[in-house]
């Protein structure tokens, strides 16, 4: 499964909610305001640090740039829309709206 999260973890529980359902071999893509979770050194970095140990985590480049997020939690990979499509080719998807 590809799980997408588009909410800031600082005001929404979406990422935490999603994490309960992520299985080994699944993939997590952060997009839109969801990319705020990718930043290193915040009160929510630990959640991401734990997730990257279990599954592949991606963050969408255009959204990172728009929000000036440059220091990512190690292990998070940056991808673009083409990479997003590639993930959809490989996995069924659930959007955590």
């Amino acid at each position: 499964m590809l799980h997408t999260v588009n909410k800031s973890p600082f005001q929404n529980t979406t990422l935490t909610d999603c994490a309960r359902f992520i299985q080994d071999g699944d993939v997590l893509l952060l997009l839109e305001d969801g990319v705020f979770a990718a930043q290193v050194g915040t009160t929510h970095s630990a959640l991401l640090e734990a997730l990257v140990q279990r599954v592949k985590v991606y963050a969408l480049q255009a959204d990172l740039k728009a929000r000036a997020i440059t220091n990512l939690v190690p292990g998070i990979q940056i991808t673009d829309y083409s990479g997003f499509v590639a993930l959809v080719e490989e996995h069924k998807i659930h959007s955590w709206l």
Partner: protein
């Protein structure tokens, strides 16, 4: 691969519409067939020809219309649209109003359905 896309939020107000558009362009570039685009909830506001954004901004309705001109089936949910005042008269070209049966067919026939919302 046949990909369907569902959009739940209106233009400009939420990024969902932009994310969906960028995703669809990339999917086409990678050679996929877009099975259909379905606008639901406030998403129905995406395709009104009455919108007039600032000149230096993107024109979201025209962008969808141009995609429709390439043959992609773009459907606006009639129930959601009626409630919100989106009618045939205000639609940009290459977009049609239809029922939730269209969404059902997309969900069944597309290899993947990707939902963009808030």
């Amino acid at each position: 691969m046949k990909i369907a896309v569902c959009i739940y939020e209106g233009p400009y107000n939420h990024e969902a519409s932009d994310s969906a558009y960028n995703f669809i362009k990339a999917a086409i570039d990678r050679g996929h067939e877009i099975q259909g685009i379905f606008f639901y909830h406030d998403g129905v506001y995406n395709v009104t020809k009455l919108m007039e954004p600032p000149q230096d901004d993107r024109h979201i309705a025209n962008r969808w219309s141009a995609l429709g001109a390439t043959g992609i089936d773009i459907v606006v949910c009639i129930a959601a649209a009626k409630r919100r005042g989106i009618v045939d008269d205000v639609l940009v070209p290459n977009v049609r109003i239809s029922g939730l049966g269209q969404l059902t067919m997309m969900a069944i026939q597309a290899d993947r359905m990707v939902v963009f919302g808030d």
